[in-house]
C-alpha cells in the first residue's frame, strides 16, 4: 500500500553505502566490509544494482499478498475437513487443496506482474532520472521508450517500440495461458 515513489526514495537511502542501514547491518552481523570506500555500493555497482532493484521490488508485493490472502480465505474449510477424514497430512492438504484452489489467483497475479514488469519504469526513473546509470544496466525498455518518444520527440520510433513491446507481451501471455491448462484449476470446469 506504500506509494512506490515514497518506497523508492526511502530505499535509495537505506541502500546508501556509507550511512544506509542495510550496509551497517551487514557489517554488524558478518565479516563483509560493507561500509566504506570498498563497501557494497548497491546502486553504483553494475553487478549489484539488480539485487538492489530486487529488494525494492520485493518490498512492493503488499498488494499481491492481499489478493492471495483474500483467495486463501475463500478456500472452503469443508474441503480440509474432508481431507483430514481421509487421513491427509499438512503437505497433502497444501498440495492437493490449497494450491489448486488458489491457482487461478496465482495465475492472475503472474500474468499481471509479467505485463507490469515489461513496463518497469518508475524505480529506475526515480533513482537516476532514466540515465541508465550505472553503465546502462538500468536502461529498461520503458525508459528507452520514454526517452525516444517524449524526451527526443521521436514519436514514430516510439510507436514502433511500443508495438514491439505489445507483440512480446502477447507472446508471453499466450505462453502463460498455454501452461495454465496444466496447473490452473477452475472449479467451474470440473462440474
Amino acid at each position: 500500500m506504500v506509494p512506490a515513489i515514497a518506497a523508492t526514495l526511502i530505499w535509495a537511502q537505506v541502500l546508501n553505502p556509507q550511512t544506509g542501514w542495510l550496509n551497517r547491518m551487514i557489517a554488524a552481523v558478518s565479516p563483509i566490509e560493507a561500509v566504506g570506500i570498498n563497501g557494497l555500493r548497491w546502486l553504483d555497482n553494475p553487478s549489484l544494482v539488480y539485487i538492489a532493484y530486487t529488494f525494492i521490488g520485493i518490498w512492493g508485493i503488499g498488494n499481491m499478498i492481499l489478493i492471495n490472502l483474500a483467495s486463501l480465505q475463500g478456500v472452503p474449510t469443508a474441503l480440509y475437513e474432508a481431507a483430514e477424514l481421509d487421513g491427509a497430512g499438512w503437505w497433502n492438504k497444501l498440495w492437493n487443496i490449497t494450491l489448486p484452489m488458489v491457482s487461478p489467483v496465482i495465475f492472475y497475479n503472474l500474468v499481471l506482474s509479467v505485463v507490469g514488469l515489461l513496463q518497469y519504469f518508475l524505480v529506475p526513473f526515480v533513482l537516476n532520472g532514466g540515465s541508465g546509470y550505472p553503465e546502462g544496466t538500468t536502461r529498461f525498455y520503458m525508459i528507452y521508450f520514454y526517452k525516444q518518444a517524449f524526451t527526443f520527440a521521436n514519436m514514430g520510433y516510439g510507436s514502433t517500440l511500443a508495438w514491439f513491446m505489445f507483440i512480446i507481451a502477447l507472446i508471453i501471455t499466450a505462453l502463460l495461458f498455454g501452461t495454465a491448462r496444466h496447473w490452473v484449476y477452475y472449479a467451474a470446469e470440473a462440474r
Binding site: 506504500v2 515513489i5 537511502q13 551497517r24 492481499l66 475463500g74 519504469f121 517524449f150 514519436m155 511500443a162
Partner: protein, 359 residues
C-alpha cells in the same frame, strides 16, 4: 515409554503434555520467524522515519548512532566544549573536554563545574562522544514548505477523488450491462474489454498522446481525468463478478412494481453492492494517488499542476544533498493512503474477498 505402556491413563497424560509442548514450541518458532520477517520488512520504513528526524550532519555521518542524536556540548567559561564518555573510578562520567593532551587531558564535569578542571590519564581520542537524543521535527515543516506540499496534495486529491467517482460510476454502469442484459456481440465485447488488461498501456500511449495534443489537452489534467469517466476493464470485471452473485428475485420484484432498468440499478443493485463498490473505489484511489507515468507525460512543463508523485521525483533530483528532507517528504506522501487503508481495512478486505480478485 516402555515403563508407562501398561498404565493407559498415565501414558495418555504423558503424550498429551508433550504434544501440547510441541505445539507451543512450533507456534513459538513460527511466531518468531514471522516477527523476524516483519522486522526486516519494516526496516526501511523505520529507517525512513528515523532518518527524516535527523539533522543533515547526522545523516551523512557513518558513525552516527541509529536514533537521531546530536553530539552533546557544554559551555564552560564562555567557550563550548565537546562532551565525552569518560571511564573513571565512579563509573562512566559525561565530562566536557577542555584541554586536549596526548596521554592525559583536562576535563570539566558539567554536573559540578565549580570543582574546576579535572586531570584524566588516557588518550582522549579513544573516548566515545556523549550524545543526547535530538529529534529534528522541523524537517517536516521545512520539507512541506520547500516543495509546496499543499499544492501537490490538493492536485493529487483532486485527481484521485474526481477520477474515483468517474471510474466507479461508469464502471458500475458497464458492469451492470454485462451482468444483466443480453445484446448481440456481448461475449465478443467482453473479451475485447478484458483484453485491454493485458494490453500494455504504453502501446496506446503514442496515439492517445498525439490525439490529446491535436485537441489541445496536453499540459492540463483533462487527458488524465476524462478517460476515467469511460470505465476501465479491471473495475468492470470486479463489479460484474459481484453483480452476478446478486440474486435475480429482487430485480424481478422491482420490475413487477414498475421499476425500469435504471431505477432497478440505482435502488436495488447498487445498495447491495456496497462492499464491492468500496473496494473498487479504494483501489482506484490508491492507483490515482500513486499514478506517475500519466501525469509525468501529460503535465510535462506545468509544475503548478504536478501531483505528489511527480513533484516528489523532481524534489528528489533537486535536494539530493538533503536526504532527511526527501525522507520527510516521502513519509508525508505515504501517510494518507496508509491511514485510509488502516481505517477502511475491514470493508476493504471484505470487498476483496467477495469480488474474488482485484487490480
Amino acid at each position: 515409554m516402555a515403563a508407562t505402556s501398561y498404565q493407559p491413563s498415565a501414558r495418555f497424560l504423558f503424550w498429551d503434555v508433550t504434544l501440547q509442548q510441541r505445539k507451543i514450541l512450533l507456534r513459538g518458532t513460527i511466531t518468531l520467524v514471522t516477527l523476524l520477517l516483519l522486522a526486516i520488512y519494516l526496516m526501511p520504513l523505520g529507517y525512513g522515519a528515523v532518518t527524516s528526524l535527523k539533522s543533515k550532519q547526522q545523516v551523512a555521518d557513518p558513525t552516527a548512532p541509529i536514533l537521531p542524536a546530536e553530539a552533546a556540548r557544554y559551555e564552560y567559561e564562555g567557550r563550548e566544549y565537546d562532551v565525552y564518555q569518560v571511564p573513571t573510578e565512579d563509573g562512566i562520567q559525561q565530562w566536557a573536554l577542555v584541554n586536549k593532551g596526548r596521554e592525559s587531558s583536562e576535563f570539566v564535569d558539567p554536573a559540578n563545574p565549580e570543582a574546576g578542571l579535572v586531570e584524566w590519564q588516557g588518550r582522549w581520542r579513544t573516548l566515545e562522544p556523549a550524545r543526547s537524543l535530538d529529534f529534528q521535527w522541523n524537517n517536516y515543516p521545512r520539507a512541506w514548505e520547500t516543495i509546496d506540499f499543499l499544492r501537490l496534495m490538493l492536485n493529487t486529491l483532486m485527481y484521485a477523488l474526481t477520477t474515483m467517482v468517474g471510474a466507479v460510476v461508469s464502471s458500475a454502469f458497464v458492469a451492470y450491462g454485462f451482468a444483466r442484459f443480453r445484446f448481440p456481440g456481448k461475449g465478443l465485447l467482453f473479451m475485447v474489454l478484458m483484453g485491454t488488461i493485458i494490453l500494455p498501456p504504453a502501446v496506446t500511449l503514442v496515439p492517445t498522446y498525439a490525439f490529446f495534443t491535436y485537441i489541445g489537452w496536453t499540459g492540463t489534467w483533462l487527458p488524465l481525468i476524462v478517460p476515467q469517466f469511460f470505465a476501465n476493464a479491471y473495475n468492470v470485471f470486479l463489479l460484474r463478478q459481484y453483480f452476478l452473485t446478486i440474486p435475480n428475485e429482487m430485480e424481478e420484484a422491482a420490475a413487477i412494481d414498475g421499476a425500469g432498468p435504471l431505477r432497478t440499478f440505482i435502488s436495488v443493485i447498487l445498495p447491495q453492492a456496497v462492499p464491492a463498490l468500496t473496494a473498487v473505489s479504494l483501489f482506484h484511489f490508491f492507483f490515482a494517488w500513486n499514478d506517475f507515468f500519466g501525469p509525468l507525460i501529460y503535465l510535462a512543463g506545468n509544475p503548478d499542476w504536478y501531483p505528489i508523485s511527480v513533484g516528489l521525483t523532481f524534489f528528489n533530483g533537486l535536494y539530493s544533498s538533503e536526504p532527511q528532507l526527501i525522507l520527510a517528504a516521502a513519509i508525508i506522501t505515504l501517510l494518507p493512503p496508509l491511514v485510509i487503508f488502516f481505517l477502511a481495512q475491514r470493508v476493504f478486505m471484505q470487498g476483496v474477498v467477495v469480488t474474488g480478485v482485484d487490480k
